[in-house]
């Protein structure tokens, strides 16, 4: 990304780079239904953070997402983007300033990758040269070769490539907010992990405010700066950082939703670099050597597989940085 895309500057569209999002007592009731889809939902997402909406089906997480860009009209309450209510802007204008990624991606089959990515810039009336520069820049950003991929039609891409192009299309005009509705839901587990990592890397660079919907608590823990857990009827059960949700679930529902293995999930949030390792002291434990970047959870699994004996931890250069034992890992949770 060009240097201009630092956190506070204006993006190429003149939109602010990222904006605070606030939902204030938002409710949505459909006529003829007794239960509201969303009731009195309030949460605020600071600029540049990823907020994951997670919950069982029927908890209204997709509805909540679609209220934000007014794909669904809200019944009461207010939504503020960058301090301004979204209810006052023209829906089409509002949506041009909000990136939108859905599970089925919805690439336009009759347009090339380049034309797909250019959708919003074209609607905003950018000139041709600016659009083609931006398209090439975005394709490189998502790790696809512009010369090869830009002239292709969506039918000529793999599932993972399509998903990446969908994300590139959503951020083409550099919107301050991105809405992502189960964006990796239709991708196989291996590629999904890959795309998640890639998106986190991309998010490091572009620092958008992101609202991300998933039904998968593991994905929520991985992707979210904060997690909003919704329950049936669209009420907020808990809104906290992943670590806090795992450590202190507010009630039975949240505890059950995050799963009985929540201690293990917490271990997944730290890496061996966060653990105070034993000094190697010339000792050379046998067995596999674990990289510092490995999650504590995976390290625990390795230790158990190796009969619980101490294992060496190595840094990027391959030199032994320390030794890890079961007791040490047990201590991580009590910190």
């Amino acid at each position: 990304m060009p240097a201009a895309n630092s956190a506070q500057s204006q993006g190429p569209s003149g939109f602010p780079q990222a904006a605070d999002l606030e939902l204030r007592n938002v409710s949505k009731a459909y006529p003829g239904q007794r239960e509201p889809a969303i009731s009195d939902l309030s949460l605020s997402v600071p600029a540049g953070e990823v907020c994951v909406l997670v919950g069982p089906s029927g908890s209204g997480k997709t509805t909540a997402l679609r209220l934000i860009n007014r794909m669904i009209p809200l019944t009461s309450g207010d939504i503020l983007l960058g301090g301004r209510t979204v209810l006052e802007s023209e829906p089409t204008e509002l949506r041009k300033s909000i990136g939108y990624v859905i599970q089925q991606i919805g690439l336009f089959p009759h347009q090339t990758v380049a034309e797909n990515i250019a959708t919003v810039p074209k609607l905003l009336g950018w000139d041709k040269r600016r659009i083609s520069t931006r398209v090439a820049e975005l394709l490189e950003l998502i790790g696809l070769d512009p010369d090869d991929i830009a002239p292709r039609y969506p039918a000529q891409l793999s599932g993972g490539q399509r998903q990446r192009v969908g994300v590139a299309r959503a951020i083409a005009a550099d919107p301050p907010l991105m809405l992502m509705d189960e964006p990796f839901g239709a991708i196989d587990p291996i590629n999904r992990a890959h795309l998640q990592d890639e998106f986190l890397r991309l998010q490091e660079l572009v620092r958008k405010t992101v609202v991300f919907v998933t039904h998968d608590i593991d994905e929520a823990i991985k992707m979210g700066d904060k997690i909003a857990i919704l329950r049936q009827g669209g009420t907020l059960a808990q809104y906290d950082s992943p670590a806090e949700v795992l450590m202190n679930p507010t009630d039975e529902f949240v505890a059950e939703f995050v799963g009985a293995d929540r201690a293990l999930k917490r271990l997944g949030l730290s890496t061996l670099a966060d653990v105070r390792l034993l000094a190697p002291n010339g000792a050379r434990p046998e067995g596999p050597r674990l990289p510092l970047s490995m999650s504590v959870r995976d390290a625990l699994s390795q230790l158990l597989a190796e009969g619980s004996r101490p294992l060496a931890v190595i840094d990027q250069d391959g030199t032994v940085a320390g030794v890890v034992t079961l007791e040490l890992l047990g201590g991580v949770l009590s910190r």
Partner: protein, 241 residues
């Protein structure tokens, strides 16, 4: 039919007394007759036939498109339009000419009204189906990125419906080319004229064979042209994985 009583019958289209041997012998196909009458009978008939067809398909296309777009936005319109166009489609062409002639006379307008009415069902149904088959997630993405309903229609939905619309145009065009030969009964033009002349002459059939073959060739050529147009307009339909 009355002519059949006289024997032998030697047709005399623009030929005066200089009839060819094959004409006098009433062979099934007389190439000399064709070359002599190409400029005076067959070529003008072909041109008239093309004009009849193009006008009918163009008007039918505009009407069906408008109806299909209305029905796409207001679903309740689909049934009444389908019923009406189906009735029009099922009226035998001769009966329809018979019905129209007292009102609009033995004119090209009468022929066109009848021909247009046969295109409506096919074009309406294909256009509406094409629009309805646009994947919902594509429509959702268009809306979610800030397209208004007209922008979405023009930039996304209509282009994606194009293959179905062109498929309808192909059927409609071939149908009209074939029906337009019958239209010669009320409007004395098109390839139907030499065909009707030959039918009323029980012996000499060259005109019927040549004009009939020309109608078939015209239908094939028009169809090929539309296939070509589709390949140019919808390049994405030809890419495979």
């Amino acid at each position: 039919m009355i002519l059949a009583a006289v024997h032998p019958v030697i047709p005399n289209f623009g030929g005066g007394s200089s009839a060819f041997a094959c004409e006098r012998a009433n062979r099934l196909f007389c190439p000399n007759w064709v070359s002599r009458n190409w400029g005076t009978v067959l070529w003008p008939a072909l041109r008239q036939h093309i004009v009849l067809t193009v006008i009918a398909v163009a008007i039918g296309f505009v009407i069906s498109m408008a109806l299909a777009l209305l029905a796409y936005r207001r679903g309740w319109l689909e049934r009444p339009v389908m019923i009406l166009t189906s009735i029009l489609y099922t009226i035998p062409s001769l009966a329809l000419f018979e019905l129209l002639a007292p009102a609009t006379g033995l004119t090209r307008a009468t022929a066109e009204i009848a021909l247009v009415s046969y295109t409506l069902l096919i074009l309406f149904r294909n256009t509406l189906t094409g629009l309805r088959e646009v994947p919902p997630e594509v429509r959702d993405a268009a809306r979610g990125m800030g397209m208004g309903s007209t922008q979405s229609l023009l930039r996304v939905e209509l282009p994606l419906a194009a293959p179905a619309i062109i498929a309808g145009l192909r059927i409609a065009t071939v149908t009209v080319i074939s029906l337009a030969t019958v239209a010669a009964l009320i409007d004395n033009e098109g390839l139907g004229v030499p065909i009707l002349t030959a039918i009323s002459n029980e012996v000499f059939k060259t005109e019927l064979i040549v004009a009939g073959a020309m109608a078939v060739a015209l239908a094939l050529a028009a169809d090929a042209l539309l296939v070509l147009a589709q390949r140019v307009i919808t390049p994405w339909t030809r890419v495979g994985r």
